[in-house]
């Protein structure tokens, strides 16, 4: 039997994975887990309180929103948008960011100068503002939300990974590979990429949390998926309109976002501690 890898023994990694697994189960099995159709409007039960409160209905365990839709069902179905965005946006941002980081760090010179200037320009745009403007240009919809987040957040990967590549490029084994006659492509993928991989995985895990927040922000201002797809940000926007009548409607999606982001962050932190070869043993535990 193969021994359990070190990173899987970390309590932080385990906590993060459990949280993500719960979310993934919600997203995959939403139609079976949700008590109601998330878009079905029960206009006779608008803004119903949770089942345990006075006037609550067992049919709607967490109450209903301003259109009489089941809050719990919407909460469960929203995990689909959140996780789809989290995974696809972070993979996309990682690929673009890592590509430019490796090219810039490996070749240096004017290539590095150009890529660094582009990153600098991107950073002068506050991320929220840039993603909103991109959504205006691209139009709403799930695919465009993912695209907008990729176009905003690739710089996060590029900036951090570039300096890592610059450190690795000066290592002897990289010079050795070049002397043996490895092509640039092969040197980058076989010699440098394995060295940047731990950082890359960590950054990706953190980026998933960021993507969930950005999607929530965009759907909060109505610039994400259409209104027929439930999303946590939309639920918050609806609850903000009726904050005195139904404060609980706001708590549920906030906690869901927090739970998801915390899961990805603690996973990222755990991976950083266990995968980073430069940390000492004491710092890891």
């Amino acid at each position: 039997m193969r021994p359990i890898p070190l990173w899987l023994k970390s309590g932080r990694v385990q906590t993060g994975l459990v949280i993500i697994a719960i979310l993934a189960i919600c997203a995959l099995f939403a139609p079976w887990l949700a008590p109601n159709d998330p878009n079905e409007q029960d206009l006779l039960a608008i803004l119903a309180p949770p089942a345990w409160a006075d006037g609550g209905d067992a049919l709607y365990p967490l109450g209903t929103d301003s259109l009489g839709r089941c809050v719990l069902s919407r909460l469960i179905f929203s995990a689909r948008v959140a996780l789809t965005v989290a995974f696809s946006a972070s993979v996309g941002a990682m690929i673009i960011g890592a590509f430019f980081a490796h090219v810039a760090g490996y070749f240096g010179g004017w290539v590095d100068w150009l890529i660094s200037r582009i990153v600098e320009i991107w950073l002068s745009f506050p991320p929220v503002i840039l993603s909103l403007i991109l959504m205006v240009g691209l139009g709403t919809g799930l695919r465009n939300v993912v695209l907008a987040i990729i176009l905003v957040d690739w710089t996060r990967f590029c900036r951090v990974l570039r300096s890592e590549v610059i450190v690795l490029r000066r290592r002897d084994y990289v010079s050795a590979a070049q002397l043996v006659g490895f092509s640039h492509w092969r040197t980058i993928t076989r010699e440098i990429l394995p060295g940047t991989m731990p950082l890359l995985i960590t950054l990706m895990s953190l980026e998933m949390g960021v993507a969930i927040i950005v999607e929530a922000i965009l759907s909060f201002v109505g610039m994400s998926v259409g209104s027929e797809t439930p999303a946590w940000g939309q639920m918050i926007a609806d609850a903000r309109q009726n904050i005195y009548e139904a404060p609980f409607n706001m708590i549920a999606p906030i906690l869901a976002i927090f739970f998801a982001v915390f899961g990805f962050n603690i996973l990222g932190d755990g991976l950083r501690r266990t995968l980073d070869t430069r940390l000492t043993q004491t710092e890891r535990t």
Binding site: S124, P127, M135, V136, A216, G222, P247
Partner: protein
């Protein structure tokens, strides 16, 4: 004297590099919003306008010229301070931004103060409990706090202090019935110089929750950097020697530790303050605070291109100004420049 010359030279360089950045940013803003499937000419006319009228408007607005020429015209006007007229509000964009920007600046400045105080206090506390069991707990708490962006903090604070305890207002800038003095457009400043204390206090009450939300979201990053730079500083020999000279721990921290740890913290602040300025947009929407963020989101909902371009550009200018200001503070405080 030579120190000033060096700092001035570096600052001029810094401002000069901001110009090409702004040029590319304005090009991007123009480009992104030109791919929109909406016709600005048709939008600025009544819905029953004929095709000829729309065509006439298109040529009047210069929409039938090549795109680079359009950009040239737009940029030329921009440099004269003319960003165009809002399609929805039928007002100059410059005056719309001018009337909302002061509110955003006041919020951002207050939030920066709150965030800095919390960040430094938290960093000192984290440093103080180093190596104890409390550190592990605090470390965990700071990851928890890092998971909460200003978006969630605003909602949390609004629910707790606005809805459940009803101790603070959470909508707009002033409660109804308060006089609004207008001198410079900065409400806090204006009510202070006109001696309108009631308005000042009411406006401050409205700003507590939004600025707290932004400040709390900013602080964990500062805390962590301050702690690790303090740890680095305490590794150095001079701390050891100062301790041997019999300096008290408090004096050691202020005179030697903090003095050396503040520079890395400051260089992080430039980036963080820039993020904070962008974060005001959301906080403004959540608290219905009448600043540039609300203007921008209104414009986005109405596809009001001139405002989106103008406000987007203003946000970028603000971020660049913030980073230049923080950088110059860094240069002034950096003792390495004094030696030269």
């Amino acid at each position: 004297m030579r120190m000033f010359a060096t700092i001035a030279k570096l600052l001029v360089m810094r401002v000069l590099t901001a110009i090409p950045i702004l040029f590319v940013v304005s090009m991007l803003l123009f480009g992104i919003l030109r791919i929109l499937p909406v016709d600005p000419a048709a939008m600025s006319l009544p819905p029953n306008a004929t095709t000829q009228e729309v065509e006439a408007m298109r040529s009047e607005m210069g929409l039938n010229r090549p795109i680079y020429e359009q950009f040239g015209i737009w940029l030329g006007k921009l440099l004269e301070g003319d960003i165009g007229r809002s399609i929805h509000f039928r007002q100059d964009v410059t005056s719309l931004i001018g009337s909302t920007l002061p509110a955003t600046i006041e919020l951002a400045l207050l939030a920066m103060m709150v965030g800095t105080v919390l960040g430094i206090a938290g960093g000192l506390f984290l440093f103080y409990v180093r190596g104890t069991r409390a550190e592990a707990v605090m470390d965990f708490v700071s990851i928890l706090l890092l998971s909460l962006p200003e978006f969630l903090w605003s909602l949390f604070l609004l629910l707790i202090f606005g809805v459940f305890f009803e101790v603070l207002p959470f909508t707009g800038r002033l409660s109804p019935g308060f006089e609004r003095p207008v001198v410079t457009g900065f409400l806090l400043f204006d009510s202070l110089i006109t001696g309108n204390i009631a308005t000042l206090l009411n406006a401050m009450q409205h700003m507590i929750l939004p600025s707290l939300a932004l400040g709390i979201a900013l602080s964990p990053a500062l805390m962590r950097v301050l702690r690790s730079s303090l740890l680095d500083a305490y590794q150095d020999d001079y701390i050891h020697q100062a301790r041997l000279r019999g300096l008290s721990e408090k004096r050691l921290l202020v005179r030697h530790g903090l003095k050396n740890a503040i520079l890395p913290t400051l260089s992080l602040m430039g980036v963080q303050f820039g993020f904070l300025f962008g974060g005001t947009l959301l906080v403004e929407i959540i608290y219905s605070y009448p600043g540039m963020g609300n203007l921008m989101v209104d414009a986005i909902r109405n596809a009001d291109l001139p405002i989106i371009q103008g406000a987007g550009l203003t946000y970028c200018v603000a971020v660049l100004v913030i980073s230049i200001v923080v950088d110059s503070l860094y240069l002034i405080l950096n003792p390495k420049l004094r030696v030269r």
